[in-house]
Amino acid sequence: MKKTKFYSIHEKLGAKLVDFAGYKMPIQYSSIIGEHKCVRESVGVFDVSHMGEVRIKGERALDFIQNITVNNASVLVDGKVQYSAMCYEDGGIVDDLLVYRIAENEFLLVINASNIQKDVDWMKKNNLFDVDIIDESDEYSLLAVQGPKSIDVLQKICADTIKLEYYTFFNTKCAGVDVLLSRTGYTGEPGYEIYFKGSESEAEKIWSAIFEAGTEFGIQPIGLAARDSLRLEMGFCLYGNDINQTTNPLEAGLGWITKLKKENFIGKNEIAQIKENGLSRKLVPMVCDERVFPRTGYSIQVDGKKIGYVTSGTVSPILEKPIALGYVDISYVELGQSVNIMIRDKEVPAKIVKLPFVEK
C-alpha cells in the first residue's frame, strides 16, 4: 500500500484511513457533513496526491493529445487547462482527465488514481506520434484547497499575486516550495490545486503554511467522503461510478467536451454513430423527498418496470435531501419525470431535476 507525503500528518490528525486505489487515504477527519459544509462555507484542504500525472513531450505532442482525447486541445494555450476524456474505439470511456498545456510541445495529463496503469498502457499503445510518455504520478503531491476563502488563504503563502481565471495555472512558490498552482477543483467552489514534487518535509511545510494562513477562516482538512458528496452536489461524474468503459460520453452528459467536429480521435466514429442513431439512455440527476439514502446499484423503476439504476447517491448535506445520479432509459429522461428508486424492496418516489443539485 502506497502512502502520500502527507500520510504522517493524517495519522497525527486522527484521520480515518482507508485503502483507495493502492493508497492509504484519509476518508474522514472529523464529521463528513461538517467537512462538507466547511468547504461550501469557508475553505478546506484535500490531500489528493493519489491522482496520476503523466507528462507528454515531443514535437507532435498536440497530435498525440488530439488523437487520444475527445476534447479539442488545439484551443489550449500555455497556462490553460481543459477537462477531457479518453475513449476506446467503441466509445466507452477509458478515463476522464485534465489536460494542462505546459508548453507548445509539452502537456501534463491528470488522471484518476485507480486508472493510472490502465491509462499509461493505453497511451503507450496509441503512441502514433513518437512522444515521450512519462508517468510522474509517484513524484507529484497534490493538495486541493477549495472554498470561497481559498484565495485569501493561498494569497498569504504564495510568492506571486494570484490572478488565475477558472481552468488556468501558473508556476509559482508556495511556502517557498516550487509549485504548479491551478484554479481547478472537484467541489463546485472557487478553489485551487497545488501540484509539487518535493520531499515529505516540503509537503509538511506547505501543509502547515496553508493551515496557519487558514486559521482565521476555520480551515479544516477534508477527507475523500466529503469530496464525494461535494462533487455529487454539483453532478460531476466520478469514474468507476457514473462513467466507465461501458458508458459513452454522450449518455454521460459529456457531449460538451466531445468535439465530433475535430478531425479525428479514438472513438470518434462510434460516438458519431451513437449520436446519429440516438441515445438509448442518459445519466440523469434525481432528488427524493423521503428519508432514504439512494446508493450505487439501486434499481430505478416506472410503473413496476426497471428503467435504470443509480450510479451515485448521497444525502446532500446542503439540501438535506437524498440526491442521486443514474442511467435511465431515454423515454424517461425529461425534466420533472417521476421515477421510483427501489430501496430494500420499497418504491421511493424521486423526480428528475436539473444540475447542479446545489446552485452556486
Binding site: 464529521s31 458528496s229 439514502f293 444525502v315
Partner: protein
C-alpha cells in the same frame, strides 16, 4: 475507542444498559465510527415490541446502511424521538443522548449470553 464498563454488548456492535427489567439499546462508539455520519435513523414509531435477533430498524449513514438487531425480546417502552431531527447524536454521544430504544426485558437470563466490556473490546482487536 470508548467501551464503558457496566454495559452489555452484542457482536453486532450494540450495547444494552440494564436497569431493573428495563433495557436501553444503542450502538457502540466503534459502530458509529464505522458508519460515518448518521443521516437517518429509521425505527417504525408504531413498533411495540422487539424480538431477539430480529431487525427493528435501520441506520442510514454516509458510508453504509446498517440493520439494527434486537439483542433481546420485549415490549418497547420508548423510542428516542430526538433522533428524528438529530440523528448525528449517534455519532456525537453513542452511549448517552444517542440511545435508540428502551424496552421491558422479557427474560433477564437471556442477557447472560451477551458480552461484557472486556469481551467486546477483545472482539475489536
Amino acid at each position: 475507542m470508548n467501551i464503558p464498563g457496566g454495559l452489555k454488548y452484542t457482536k453486532e456492535h450494540e450495547w444494552i444498559k440494564v436497569e431493573g427489567n428495563v433495557g436501553t439499546i444503542g450502538i457502540t462508539d466503534f459502530a458509529q465510527g464505522e458508519l460515518g455520519d448518521v443521516v437517518f435513523v429509521d425505527i417504525d414509531p408504531n413498533l411495540d415490541s422487539i424480538t431477539a435477533n430480529e431487525s427493528f430498524g435501520t441506520i442510514e449513514a454516509v458510508k453504509t446502511v446498517s440493520e439494527l438487531f434486537a439483542p433481546s425480546t420485549g415490549k418497547i417502552l420508548e423510542i428516542n424521538s430526538k433522533l428524528e431531527n438529530e440523528p448525528q447524536l449517534l455519532n456525537s454521544d453513542p452511549y448517552g443522548e444517542g440511545w435508540l430504544i428502551k424496552f421491558e426485558i422479557a427474560d433477564l437470563s437471556a442477557l447472560d449470553d451477551l458480552l461484557d466490556a472486556e469481551a467486546y473490546s477483545s472482539l475489536l482487536t
